[in-house]
Symmetry: C2
Subunit: 405 residues, 2 copies
Amino acid sequence: MTILSGLRITECAAFIAGPFATMSLAALGAEVIRIDPLEGGLDYHRWPVTDSGRSLYWAGLNKGKKSVSIDLRSPEGRELAQAIITAPGEDGGIFITNFPATGWLDYEKLKARRGDLIMANILGNRDGSTALDYTVNCAVGFPAVTGTPGELTPTNHVLPAWDLLCGMTAATGLLAAERHRRKHGAGQLLKIALSDIALAVVGDLGFIAEVQINGHERERHGNHIFGAFGHDFETRDDRRIMVAAVSLGQWKTLCKATGTGDSITKLEQSENLDFAREGDRFAARDKIAALLAPWFAARTVAQAAAALDSERACWGLYQSFAQLVKEDPRCSPANALFAPVHHPHIGTTLTARSPIDFAACKPTPPGTGPVLGQHTDEVLSEVLKLSGAQIGALHDKNVIGGAAR
Amino acid sequence: MTILSGLRITECAAFIAGPFATMSLAALGAEVIRIDPLEGGLDYHRWPVTDSGRSLYWAGLNKGKKSVSIDLRSPEGRELAQAIITAPGEDGGIFITNFPATGWLDYEKLKARRGDLIMANILGNRDGSTALDYTVNCAVGFPAVTGTPGELTPTNHVLPAWDLLCGMTAATGLLAAERHRRKHGAGQLLKIALSDIALAVVGDLGFIAEVQINGHERERHGNHIFGAFGHDFETRDDRRIMVAAVSLGQWKTLCKATGTGDSITKLEQSENLDFAREGDRFAARDKIAALLAPWFAARTVAQAAAALDSERACWGLYQSFAQLVKEDPRCSPANALFAPVHHPHIGTTLTARSPIDFAACKPTPPGTGPVLGQHTDEVLSEVLKLSGAQIGALHDKNVIGGAAR
């Protein structure tokens, strides 16, 4: 038994937040049915793509789901989609969308078909206006403090962090709502705005209070870790290492591993600082980095790694995506997280299962991305109990699609 | 009734992932008890801090929790902590830690006290070795592609995205495990490695497949949105705007709002591209940006905003943290997400409740960060049913602490 065995979730969504929410729940064993238009949804061709135009992004974010393709412009198709969303069963009736919840996706209309429906609607802004990760991120301050001090232009992040966090927040919300329904019988509508996810985090991490209480805002600190010591260093073999000394223990191990204790103590005395205090390490960050830099410059990564590991110092190697895939054992089948998975249109790639291990439940193996429409017949048969003849008639009328070529 | 009314979770954790997990569940109405050493945990002084040294970070990430301080070096203190973690009640017995689960935090020892305990252990790496957001992020490729093309050094992100995502993943995992226990009676140990969170996402978004299938890796594209069109533009009043045209609809509204349709069509023809295809927009990104730049340069933010909004184009304004706090109505009590909340050691700041709205449940108001040890007596009385005399004796022996000054 997997941890979410039996739970059934339907999705009409695109891009990251919604699909990532349900992909994460599918990786815990939930049955996730993604419904798309016959030609595929808005994200069906989203880059990166293979040479033949298959979306690696779509495959990745829909892993382990069942794909149903329906002509969602036709009344008959919409009726089918609503029927799947609201199909009976105590573990069903859970739906997520990041489209406007109007028309056939209106919560009240769906609720009329299943009174205890749980529906999560992911919005851009709370008022329903559009926002994407990129247009939220620029507004919440981080691009202004990312990159080298002195730069005059903002630096966008590449990781769609807000989308991912929004998706996982929606997953948490759906499970909370399912718990409530199990205890009290009632379903409900959840609303989650992408911009609220970012705004809440800006507050959680103290950035709002810095402005309101301290009267100033965070500055750009390049690759320094704010409020402690952490920086990147070049090695003799032209690689870069990030070291982190946030806790006192990490600071002590770093000094010991690099044998810089004496010169660090001299610096501490000359600056009249106490490096046991994280803020004092931050105040002297450039001078500390200057003391450490020669140690790294004199060593290869392998030599630095051996010394740092011998003291259990906290460090990481900068890697490109290719270096990560080709050289890091954590990104290989040696890590139980991963297994090679074959996709008929794409080939075989290293694929992750859920990063959560549940000791008492069987892990769900890494899923493959579905072929668009691959599970249309299966879902109509199993969930809606349609006959082969009924399904055939829907195909004949082009209301539903089979597995895309 | 709030969505997680009644659920009780105990936390022995520090920094972001663990505290953020439980802060998010407290914001949904769970009772969260954070246990710290008498002098505060590793993150008790984490920056940003007020002028008087109070951590805004600690206050933010522990909002809405109860704080219990105990001498965790003493056997008697450890006994108390274990008793709280494993206290009876069908909604209790849920525990999260990001410390090594050994000694008095060993799962088997805790399980011996409560057989159906659910315990989540957040690790750095799966093998138990140390890793922080900074030392994971450098390894998974993003710093190498963040920043301006041509830069030779990596750019770290400032947002601790992996920590946050790890925390919310742990919240999802705890609710999944609680569902399983409710249905089947069994608790269990969950393990979640920070580096696995990042590695899984690198795969989900297609970066691993780009290397393995396409044989090349993502390059640095500055502030361009990969595989579609999106870029930042300077306005006449020296501000910057991010526009995003990922979907075809967004692309059409952008062209219409900026009146650049004709010149865009000419570019399309001269380049022999079809901008209805997102990849073709990406291929011509620099030339498209060059066509759009004069439109923005000729307009103030207000003028550009009016035109973009009239077509419902997707855009966002770059803001510093101070601009966000002082100028954006989304970051004010006008947004139902926020309310001013007072903290006795810090003052009053705009504070977020959960970004999830549950239509059928009462929202939990934004919580305030506790004072260290503020709830020690309350928790020992209510959860462990200790008498006033017993609690007094523990204070006398300095086994427990009261509210810090």
